[in-house]
Symmetry: C2
Subunit: 288 residues, 2 copies
Amino acid sequence: MITGSGSQKVVGMDWSKRPGKPEISCDAANFENQTLLDSSSFVVVHGAGSFGHFQASKSGVHKGGLHKPLVRAGFVATRISVTTLNLEIVRVLAREGIPSVGMSPFSCGWSTSDRKMTSADLSLVTKAIDSGFVPVLHGDAVLDELQECTILSGDVIIRHLAAYLKPEYVVFLTDVLGVYDRPPSEPDAVLLREIAVNEDGSWSVVKPALQNMNKQVEITVAAHDTTGGMVTKISEAAMIAKLGIDVYIVKAATSHSLRALCGEVRGTIPDDWLGTIIRFVDKEIAST
Amino acid sequence: MITGSGSQKVVGMDWSKRPGKPEISCDAANFENQTLLDSSSFVVVHGAGSFGHFQASKSGVHKGGLHKPLVRAGFVATRISVTTLNLEIVRVLAREGIPSVGMSPFSCGWSTSDRKMTSADLSLVTKAIDSGFVPVLHGDAVLDELQECTILSGDVIIRHLAAYLKPEYVVFLTDVLGVYDRPPSEPDAVLLREIAVNEDGSWSVVKPALQNMNKQVEITVAAHDTTGGMVTKISEAAMIAKLGIDVYIVKAATSHSLRALCGEVRGTIPDDWLGTIIRFVDKEIAST
């Protein structure tokens, strides 16, 4: 996301001690002669992956009940796990010269009521962006007014950030090429290239054109996933698309995700691009 | 700080994978049969120690100028370093059964103007305490309205928390027995047992009774300390004492710090207790 970095050496921003190296590495001279890279404003939100889901599901943090010893312990354990991952991601970005700053939703005061987001001071995220940073948020254990606590998923955070920040587009990075009509491990799984979202929030597959595609789409959720897996991802993506913001679901670390992140698939989708685009279809425009 | 824990097994709340152990350790059954420990409400604030001071002083984050590449990189590097330490402290407390939650001042939206604290939503800390958690805050790099950024020290954070939360007492844990009249490494250094703070914020040594003690007190600050070292610590402690809250400066991991933390040195100071008490002296009461 940093333009013009081709000619400049990347200067890392993680000056921690590394195992096996006695000295902290910080070449201040590299910064003195450097002009600030022209970086687009962006925000990174990550889920928990193998960090957090075990702790949350084992204790039932997502179901609430903070007065129970197990849930309270699970809340603490979940936060330790997700903030460990957050710190690693901030560190990796900083090493690549991206001025990343971790922002934990719990610390930011984000909370829910009956598992729906109620309170979030999004101006803190805006301030961090305006100061030249890349905020890195994550799915987190948060307080809930009705059930005492719950898990706030990264997907829900993205939707709220998108509604507030109105970005040009949102990219979901995943470990498969995009959304399939059935679990992608199955041999006949078909990659859905374009999903149209309607005014009422319902969605249908536009590309590839298959009869009764909707009915054929099977969605499974892993047993340990406390935040809904692909179902949540698509429904949150559909809600973002309804705001007029295109959503691209792509495989991380591929040319497809790079192109999506650089904004190359806005407008007409290139034929050689693999991924799923989720777009709002304005019926009035569509019918003309 | 947890009472009644003598008869109960400590059940850890850090369920992360440990090096050399393939399985995550979480004995849920231990929690099912456990009643919640009766823990006093408390807050932990830590500084940066060897984490953060190097990064901050090397880049001059405390002096501001976030538009400069080196300062911006230093801000990122400082936050990585202090949040790494914060996570370790949260983890150590959780392993001892203390329901600790990390709360980064930057993420909480704390900010300064001309290096003085202006904005801090302290209600987030109260909410965490009321939910049964022990918030763990730390010295942090924050945004500054006038000079773009600065370092907010743990000592300043404690003062603001004390003014808001009105705790019974505040304990500063350090690596020496308390405040000395000169660097404690010097052979003739005398431990100051009691310091009285006056209405105007000035302070004088009450115990031991030495002539012109004030004049004899030498205070040095390490070159790498961006937040003022012992000078800041005493002046912040004096400001807390002025609120009518006793401050104890004690050596960590000793019987003296344990007694101070348990509130045993409130009122008359035991003769066999070693540490420095900083107390407000109400002149009107003192003169009667």
